[in-house]
Point group: D2
Chain length 444, copies 4
């Protein structure tokens, strides 16, 4: 090893490796190149040429993994119009904002497939810096940003030609038309889609149509096909936002690896038998995490169609039943001049503000009664396992990629301590956090 | 038999009995009380006390059975408001309008259960005159007239308290909330609903939400439960308006007896394999029947969201494949002062005008290539069989109820000849057509 | 005088005659037929045949005159639909509800002219009982209930043919089309309108278009013509809801006798010079009267487009400047089953509930600092003078019509005491308050 | 004169100077620097150093002056969003597009004042090329692009903060709030506005509120103040879009110099007396000019709320009565990718497409019966006089600025010949038409 930067030793920290065991005090972590070469207590002989990072009294944890972000949010027309042609830069800006704040890996849960793949590749190749991205592209079966599944009401304002162009970019061939196809036709479309190089699939487990949000989108045999094709390609599959117990049942039967937001249910809380089924299957879920304070705030300002009590009731039941939950923020970058959304979101803490939302997630889950070590694993190892990337990611172990954080205070003591972040390392490289984000289209 | 009216002989007509065999020329039909006592050629000795109806040169066919009407349409707020408290009378008015025009039996496919049952019973008991009614009440899983499944946009105008009251009357406990229930809960609700005395069930095979119309409402196992409960009660079950090939597949798998309007499909015509499946299963269907002239007219005036080409393509495919189709008009009474709807509907012939629409249905099916005898059976025997009431209805046979029509000209010659109606008999009684409708709230 | 009922003496009450002078204690009021024959202290010799009404310790005041009600409100479609053909009965029901509660005369400020005139005549002729009605019909220049000036959004729900019919009934030939006419054409239309027998005119001093509410409707010369034609016919003219200082200026210049609701101004409170002009001219005004409690309530629930602070500021300025204000409630009958409006209105006291609103008016004006005697005159004599009916009405004086109330407690002590009503006399006849309203379409 | 380019002779053309006299055949026009040095027949001795432009058989006319364009249209949100910060460039692009097509001067009738002034100054100073701009900024009294006077329905889509920013840019302090001010306050606001350096004023003669378009915005005395302040500053004043005869009457009484679009009247055509008044006063007007073909086309596709028959009737009456009409297109740049508007506008010829619309105007006015020489003057001298810039512009006379066009075919022969444009000169400089527009944000 010639390059001294290729050998780094983090010395003296309390190590919490993500596997759930007892922390190792006064540890030494030896990193060679991109990977962890050794983990030991202070008896380890540190090579002379190693750059030493003194971390006495501090805490080392795996780099955080956010299981659901929108690197490029499609819901704000002015952003889409103003930056058309530069969406890849927006994605990179988002990935720099997250990396700066300790999220070394993110799973992008909704966006324009081809843009996301380009940005992912740019980061992966080292051409640009940013959190590692895994992306799924469109929610299979749903329409794009200006479709009746999202913001159709803006269609006239932005002119139909723009709306049509953007919708096509998002849908990438797996939009609502799949609903009307035969199972074999859907299989062909999914295969075509998978060839683009996405990292996982996410399909609509319930509808997302304006004002509906209660129906089943695909028949069971089509759901099976979607999941099956993902698995044949070695990729995980997610069911997005099932709105009823029956929708959850069908997604689980279809074999999904992750359930995204099963907590937004229509009309009533999830039936008891559904909660029991979820607990039994142990399929990881993403939920809407809210602190107690935020719940009280939302209760005051949310419109009646936002079924807060049902949401809270579902989440309490899921936590109580021991359904595995992952760190997932649905965070996106809110432009500096977007005073409306900023006003909405600063009224209560939210996971939705990318770069900050993952800290809020810990605080919310703490309020919801999740244990400190469970939370830490839910934000690292569990995500990696759920999405089948735990060979390289999720824990601090010899041979894994050296994605890690140094915190000033113990994350096991209280959730707020995740904010005491003092160092981010990704693939063995210490990140210059002050320089991020380098690209500043929205965060100016 | 003392009362001469209890014995009637129709003499000399060409008899087309609904079974599809060759017509019997110069027939004698002997009716005793409510039922057919004998059917023969002119060699039959007619009892002296029999009242004779000379029908030489005319044509006798079974009373028509409309497989889908809305005796009380819920889509016109002024009607619902003005006549609140008198809905039963509106149903009876509708049943008198149909009887006057040769429909001796109607299957009411959508309406307020309790009102319909009262009107049905009033007619059945003989207290009032009208077509025999079989009713299903609400489309299970869908909301009432002012819900987001129908005319939510009128909710403010009619005030929420009225809207809520009317919606509850229609939903009768089997509205959208069933979607969020567990299978066992749905089973209980269906059982409760069946105990009210409905004659068949109809459930949402696809959603009917404003602007959606493409999703699946119930999981397969819940669809099975709904159909199963109907069958346990000895009643038929219908799947209402499946919007995709997959929705049709699920309804067929669930065991429905009738598919209502599988021709309104989303995005694209029905997949070939769906058509093939429907032909193989031979489950009767209701479709939107349009004459060639109406198709051309609608092409000019319909908004683009009305997918005319898909509809026409589906119907051609269904006829070609030999899928059994039933007379079903979705007709309702349009008020004398409803100049708007009258203007819309007089632009092209439509099955929707109750009392006339069944005549249009024959003309439309003739244009679509259905054979005369097939049509006649589709409007009589096939409906009776589909809804399992063929023990008493649907054909002219000894022992069956004497529901029959006398036409001046042969219905097998051309469809328009159904309009040459000169006598309607229901349960052995000659109807005073000129007196109908007796109740005139809308038809004044 | 033979009939003992034709001679009545009210004996012993404190009399407040409406002229603003000191109350007369222990008074005797002698009523002969419909009119007041004498007013005196207890020294008056009461004729033997007179029916005596003992009122010692009580208070007699003139019958109240509400300067602005809507006997038939046009804003609730269900009412208009359900009772079409019976609107005259609705007006009479309203007039019975007001009479029961001490309003012996009402000025109907908006409604269908011909219906109102018929109801007015029925009451005037003695055929039915009710408050005396003076009516103006339509706001000249504005459209009917389903026009863009009011509830256009309900047009589709009620079907255009109904909406058109109702709008025409309200507009009575003096709707929005007048805006586009030449001055001479408008003069002809106004003359035609006046020949129908209305009692006064009310024209749009500002627009009432949905979301606009800031523009001038008629040019000054056309405003002059409207007022001039009213005056030529011996009738008063009102300017309805001027929304800016300039609109008020133009209405005053045109010579209006009453300004209706000049307090709802657009964008900002009335300019100081407008307040000064109104004070100088001393033209009576109707304003939105709110108790302090109601202001606080509205502040919490009103949408931002309801400019509460401007309204309150205007009203404080008008009271302070000594602009003459009249009792005017804009009250209407809210149906027993109209839970929505009842819910809205019971949250804060409002003048809008006919039969109760005039009591609220006194309480509101008391909160706004108006003096007790000024209020009493504003609700009796001042209205009569403003509308030029003070020859017969407004005060208790020899020769005037015997419209009077007996209160248990002094109205000069506190506003709430108007509620201590124990007897209502109209034209010399004691009203059987318990029997009212006799007609009960909405108040059932 | 050293620079040969400073002396140019156009030789041999038929000269139509804009004053309405007989054309001069075989003319010589001598241009020195920016101005016309001499106009003569061929006997004039052409200085040797003069650059000669041979124009035998061709036609020279004054540069066209469009009395109403929108250099920066505010109605298309995507344009406003995408190019925020570069609006000045959009204005310049528009002015280059018009100059390329023979419009040497344009009056910008609606836009963001400060942007327009900057662009105007850039062109006037010679820093950039383009048609000479005169601008008025906002329609006084009306709100900006996202206000209820224009496209409020887009407000949510573009987010309120953007909408508010853009509205303020357009309104420039003279928006709807002026309606609620006292006359003296309005005078102060107008003075402040005039100090910015606008070239003329345009105020709302009628409202422009969505769906209203029939009311008067300012009282007569406020209209007088607006016009008076313009005249004190030596500038003309225009009344924008009066919608009724009374609105026109008030604007004329207020002393406006130009009436913009008095032909869009509400409910009925202009009263005869209004037409007579307009003819008598001879105040120039802008109208919606449509070819016969376009009228027929619009008749087929326009929604009923577009009152085509009234518009056509008004325009026929105005032409017949001899009301002076000016070339005014209301043209704006339609982006290359704006397929929606392009589709709408290519269905029928329209004056609205900037760069082409002025040619359409001639064809339309020809169809409406205007005489060739009247048209030519209406597009040159009459505009200059109406806006009081005829000292330098509008005709070809010694001493005036050398703005002129060379046409291949005679414009007096038929309107289409204006399209035979072969040379554009502005201020003595031959324009390189092929190079325009240089700035290409929308016309790419």
């Amino acid at each position: 090893v010639d390059n001294p930067h290729d050998l780094i030793a983090i010395v003296g920290a309390t190590l919490i490796d993500g596997n759930g065991g007892a922390p190792i005090n006064d540890s030494v972590i030896l990193i060679e190149g991109k990977r962890i070469a050794a983990i030991a207590d202070r008896t380890l002989q540190i090579p002379n040429q190693a750059q030493q990072i003194a971390a006495h009294g501090k805490f080392v944890i795996p780099g955080l993994i956010d299981a659901h972000v929108w690197s490029l949010d499609g819901t704000i027309p002015t952003v889409l119009i103003r930056h058309e042609g530069r969406y890849e830069e927006l994605v990179i800006e988002a990935a720099q904002l997250t990396l700066k704040n300790g999220v070394t890996t993110l799973f992008d849960g909704w966006g324009p497939r081809d843009v996301l793949i380009k940005a992912r590749n740019a980061i992966q190749s080292g051409r640009v810096i940013g959190s590692r991205i895994y992306c799924s592209g469109n929610w299979i079966g749903l329409g794009g940003p200006f479709s009746s599944d999202l913001r159709q009401q803006y269609r006239t304002a932005v002119y139909g030609s723009f709306a049509t162009r953007i919708d096509a970019l998002w849908e990438s061939g797996v939009g609502p038309r799949l609903i009307a196809m035969s199972p074999q036709q859907v299989r062909q479309e999914i295969r075509t889609y998978l060839r683009s190089g996405v990292d996982y699939l996410s399909y609509a487990a319930s509808d997302h149509h304006i004002g509906a949000l209660r129906f089943i989108v695909f028949s069971p045999r089509v759901q099976h096909i979607i999941v099956d094709e993902a698995h044949r390609a070695g990729l995980p599959a997610c069911g997005f936002r099932p709105a009823t117990g029956e929708a959850i049942y069908l997604a689980l039967e279809a074999g999904v690896d992750v359930l995204q937001f099963p907590d937004y249910t229509a009309y009533q809380p999830l039936p008891e038998e559904t909660i029991a089924l979820m607990a039994q299957r142990q399929i990881p879920c993403l939920i809407e995490a809210m602190t107690n304070e935020t719940v009280e705030h939302v209760r005051k300002v949310a419109p009646p169609e936002f079924l807060l009590d049902i949401l809270v009731s579902n989440n309490q039941a899921l936590v109580r039943a021991g359904v595995p939950l992952l760190l997932g923020t649905a965070g996106f970058v809110i432009g500096a001049d977007n005073t409306e959304l900023r006003a909405v979101f600063t009224l209560g803490k939210t996971t939705k503000i990318l770069g900050d939302g993952h800290f809020v997630w810990f605080e919310a889950m703490q309020d919801m009664g999740m244990k400190p070590m469970t939370m830490l694993m839910a934000a690292t190892r569990d995500v990696a396992q759920a999405y089948k990337v735990d060979k390289d990611l999720g824990t601090l172990e010899r041979g894994k990629l050296a994605d890690l954080l140094i915190l000033e205070r113990s994350p096991l003591e209280k959730a707020e301590n995740y904010r005491s972040l003092s160092l981010v390392m990704k693939e063995g490289r210490v990140i210059d956090r002050d320089a991020l984000p380098i690209t500043r289209l929205l965060t100016a």
